[in-house]
């Protein structure tokens, strides 16, 4: 087993996925000491982004080595601490969904900023903080079919493409954002992390002999020109077929489409996910796991189960909570699990998988 603090070699690609049960962050070593960070969640201390913890622990100079920081969307479980990453990674470009490039989104940010009084700030405030750091707005807007990164090697290239959001989704997204603003007028509330997941960015990384598909939180849509339907319609070169897949939206059925597995992925690809907790619902469900395992024998999760028992407190507190919440009490984990996959950039070796800090096969 490789030392957990060992950096990938110059010619090794690494895809690391972190998640504590509510939160997600992917860190990718592209080539020769250049890194990409997609989304963010906190480490065990609940104040330092896991990406910074990890990269600093393995001796990576974050200021120089991180070249891209990407926000797939603004939901709490994908963006906590991302402003710290952007602030530290001074050489990095910041990219986010084109769906946010609209007057409605500007108004939403301004609205929430005006009342940023909530103790536990929402994802929109994190994004606003990033925009304060990036004085001229994001360095790159991402939408379907946009290449945001291309690096020439001696006889090949490494490319980063966004596959979503689709044009039709963006127009609908503007309307949805406008309705979120309207709701705030009746009293400021924290923005819910539910919809619009279809505004999420999907990333395709194309290496000389293999590709990686990072599905964000994109969901299936009934409309033919939205969500995964739109992605599946895109023309894709043969070398985009991926054998490493970050499963979208925590393995939920609404992030699943058989055609992704049949058309965009090699059979039985290395598949990884972060779980998700809300109220009494957890993702993935048993059915989700069964469905995904029918597609791959290499399914890994950053932690399992996603929630733990609430810690014991003073008897008086426990009694009072039990009287009010009954047995409907649990806790989120603080410590993110970590799936680390590495392979040679020329594709000569298979993915070498390490399951760290509670990550496991499903």
């Amino acid at each position: 087993m490789r030392n957990r603090l060992a950096q990938p070699k110059e010619d090794e690609v690494e895809v690391s996925l972190f998640g504590p049960g509510y939160g997600e962050c992917a860190v990718v070593h592209l080539y020769a000491g250049e890194w990409l960070v997609i989304d963010s969640c906190y480490g065990e201390d609940r104040k330092t982004p896991v990406a910074l913890n990890y990269l600093q622990n393995i001796g990576v100079d974050v200021e120089q080595a991180v070249k891209w920081v990407i926000a797939t969307h603004w939901h709490d479980d994908h963006i906590k601490g991302l402003a710290q990453v952007v602030n530290k990674a001074t050489s990095a470009k910041f990219a986010c969904s084109t769906a946010l490039k609209c007057q409605e989104f500007c108004t939403l940010i301004a609205t929430m900023d005006n009342f940023s009084l909530v103790e536990e700030s929402s994802g929109i405030n994190e994004l606003s903080e990033i925009l304060e750091i990036k004085d001229r707005g994001p360095d790159q807007w991402l939408s379907e079919n946009s290449c945001f990164f291309r690096k020439s090697l001696s006889d090949s290239t490494i490319e980063g493409h966004a596959l979503s959001p689709a044009a039709a989704t963006i127009t609908n997204g503007h309307r949805e954002i406008a309705s979120m603003i309207a709701k705030q007028k009746n009293g400021i509330k924290r923005l819910p992390s539910t919809n619009p997941n279809h505004l999420s960015v999907v990333i395709q990384l194309v290496f000389p002999n293999f590709a990686v598909l990072l599905g964000g939180d994109l969901q299936k849509d009934t409309q033919p020109d939205q969500g995964w339907n739109a992605v599946l319609k895109l023309e894709r070169p043969q070398n985009w077929q991926s054998d490493c897949y970050k499963i979208p939206h925590h393995g939920s059925h609404n992030g699943h489409d058989d055609r992704i597995w049949n058309e965009m992925l090699y059979p039985s690809p290395l598949s990884m996910l972060t779980p998700w907790v809300r109220g009494s619902k957890d993702l993935p469900t048993k059915d989700d796991v069964q469905r995904i395992k029918a597609k791959t024998d290499k399914l890994f999760t950053t932690v399992w189960p996603p929630r733990v028992s609430a810690r014991r407190k003073m008897p008086a507190i426990d009694r009072e909570m039990k009287a009010i919440a009954g047995k409907k009490q649990s806790a989120l984990r603080n410590k993110p699990g970590h799936i680390r996959a590495r392979r040679k950039i020329n594709g000569e070796s298979e993915w070498e998988i390490q399951l760290l800090d509670g990550a496991r096969a499903l």
């Binding site: 005006n114 009342f115 009084l117 103790e119 009293g187 400021i188």
Partner: protein, 210 residues
Amino acid sequence: MVLLGDFNPPILAPHWLFSTGLTSKSEADEAKVDVIHPEFSNFQLSWAAIACDKTRLQIETSDIAKEFELRDMVFGIITVLEHIPLRAFGFNYSVHVKFNDIEVWHRFGHDCTPKAIWSDYLEKPGMRSLVIEGKRQGATSKRTQIKVEPSPEIETGVHIHINEHFVLDNEKTESEKRKEIETAGSSEYPEFLKHSKYVVQNLLENYFKE
């Protein structure tokens, strides 16, 4: 919490708070209004008392469970009254402690202000009030004052009042001043309360040993 600035007292009324979203309708309906006047406004919600004159707004609660709601109300008011010029703000913590043994009560007074240097000039010198001023470690406030005096409200009691005073820079915009108050309220107010409780605990614990 106290704010110093240029206020318009009659605005500060229960139903104004309701119209801004800072209290519920029933709380506003049930508020006990003492006076709403061009010079002065004074009323009580079920959990907080609000007093405002032309230069000072004070919101206080004796319910420790409302520490965060108190802070929200102060932030809310200065957010809504965004153009009101503010000059300073402060945190207050006040506690009255009953001493059952009058000898111990006297001893506490003697320990705070030794009487030897006064006995040449006065017979039976006693402490009326003591104010100590300094800076709380790590605080950004201009100063912290601790006042100790015999409680005016309970027999053989001690009143300890701790005040932290922040001066706002006049060069700053009103929006920047509000940001400063919000930052201090979020980061320093809990520390101030923790420190105040620590001061009271440590000052008095030797006098309350079984």
